[in-house]
């Protein structure tokens, strides 16, 4: 599974991307975030307050109950500010 971080989430995570292999019980976005928090470090800090974070799976916005697994691309980022 490929994780991407953008903007201040990237800065807090300390990296722009990483490959991870979460345990089999991680089945959705909420489970993935819980696992990343338990792992500690920059990504755990970046995902501390979910009100500030948006999630996309395979480049589409999703809610916390969206399934994840296999070779999914999961991105975490702040509310967007383009335009």
């Amino acid at each position: 599974m490929r994780l991407l971080y953008f903007a201040w989430v990237r800065e807090k995570a300390g990296k722009g991307q990483e490959e991870v292999a979460p345990p089999a019980e991680v089945a959705d976005v909420a489970g993935l975030i819980a696992w990343l928090r338990s792992r500690g470090g920059g990504p755990a800090d970046a995902l501390a307050d979910l009100r500030l974070v948006r999630v996309a799976v395979n480049q589409e916005y999703v809610a916390l109950d969206h399934p994840v697994g296999g070779s999914d691309e999961v991105a975490f980022f702040p509310p967007v500010t383009g335009g």
Binding site: F6, G82, G83
Partner: protein
């Protein structure tokens, strides 16, 4: 027509590429020189390559479904930009000007809350990520149907 690019764009060339249809409404957003009262030295736009293009294409498709349009062009830049530089162009050609205006405003309103770009401003106080604006969320919600 959707493009996400680092280099500047030529407004006249973008408009010339649209089908002639009676009217074209265009919005061009530029880097402000002041933010919250503080002079801005530069702005850096980060984006999510791939998803940025997909979101813009999805918005174009939604606009085409809501209004009878002849053509749409969206160009969004990323990278480090100086005050006054162009950031984004949204252009809509349509047989009727009401549709051109409404679709153009729909696209820029929704782009601002949905397309994955993030602005970081450099001021005398250092660099800081621009926070999402409540007014932008309200402007985008006006289009919820």
């Amino acid at each position: 027509m959707i493009r996400v690019q680092q280099q500047d764009f030529d407004v006249a060339a973008e408009l010339a590429a649209l089908p002639a249809a009676g009217g074209i409404c265009v919005f061009v957003g530029t880097v402000r020189d002041v933010s919250d009262g503080r002079p801005v030295a530069a702005m850096t736009l980060e984006h999510y390559p791939g998803m940025a293009e997909r979101e813009l294409a999805r918005l174009e498709e939604e606009a085409q479904g809501r209004w009878p349009l002849a053509g749409v062009a969206i160009v969004h830049r990323y990278g480090r930009l100086q005050p006054g530089e162009r950031i984004v162009l949204v252009a809509v050609a349509a047989p009727h000007r009401a549709a051109a205006f409404e679709a153009c405003r729909f696209l820029i309103d929704r782009l601002k809350t949905e397309a994955p770009f993030w602005k970081s401003e450099e001021t005398a106080g250092g660099a800081r990520w621009v926070a999402a604006r409540r007014e932008d969320a309200a402007a985008a919600e006006r289009w919820d149907s």
